[in-house]
């Protein structure tokens, strides 16, 4: 009978193995798709800004009919709702590339100030919707006159 010499493995060896596995795992995790450069948000993406008298809400909604857009203001909540319709072709069409999305969308946002609901105006130009919401009189700063007693 042959005797095979059994050598005890170096305990440090298995540690280096674990270390290698861990660094592989970290490598996989950190190579996840980079979000940098992509701003993926709800549709439509909006910009809210304000000046002294108005609050402005802009939204990039290219290629939509105004009749398919619905903008509503209830108290201080603005809702933009609409539908972007796909191309209606007379003949059969074959898509070679499709990156633009179609479908219905709805978004509600809380406005930063109280607005005068009656005076809200909206315009759609070059694919950008702009809603101008004049601030309510009560939201504007009021000068308090101090009376001499």
């Amino acid at each position: 009978m042959n005797i095979i010499k059994w050598s005890r493995p170096d305990p440090l060896n298995s540690l280096t193995h674990i270390q290698r596995e861990m660094s592989d795992l970290l490598g996989i995790l950190s190579s996840a798709p980079q979000v940098e450069g992509y701003v993926s948000v709800e549709f439509p993406p909006i910009i809210v800004s304000k000046n002294k008298d108005n609050v402005f809400v802009r939204a990039e909604i290219p290629g939509i009919n105004i009749s398919d857009l619905d903008v509503q203001v209830v108290d201080d909540v603005l809702t933009i709702r609409g539908e972007r319709k796909p191309v209606v072709a007379a003949a059969k069409i074959t898509y070679l590339r499709r990156e633009r999305n179609y479908g219905t969308f709805a978004r509600s946002i809380m406005l930063p100030e109280k607005v005068d609901v009656e005076k809200v105006t909206a315009s759609y130009k070059n694919g950008v919707l702009m809603v101008r919401l004049p601030k309510a009189a009560e939201a504007k700063p009021k000068q308090v006159i101090i009376k001499k007693a």
Partner: protein, 134 residues
Amino acid sequence: METKEHPSVGKKKITPDKCVVTGKGDWYFPLSDIYETTDNFTILIDMPGVTAENVTIDMRDNELVINGEVSQEAYTDEEVIHNEYNIGHYHRHFAISDVINRDKIEAKMADGVLSLILPKAEHIKPRKIEVRAE
């Protein structure tokens, strides 16, 4: 394709390591659709904020180069509270093959969407050959 609820959007910035970015402002990669019919190809490009005058379409060698510039004069006295998208110019180019009749490319800009119609060249259109009975 089924219609989706809340279609998502992404704006991809063109970084200087991929190409040479010149001029003021940021440049973005607009989303586009390409489809084919029996007579032509159509390219639709989303470029919100771009007017028809600010679109330039060039045909260089085999490339169709599309640039759309946005004006950024707004926001002068406004304070931005919430920002979800970046405003910038758009650039995209497509390689065009011989099947396109280059003299007859048409472009139209409406509501922030540029549509390019590229007619197919006569020689690649399907032709029916009549069979005569002798």
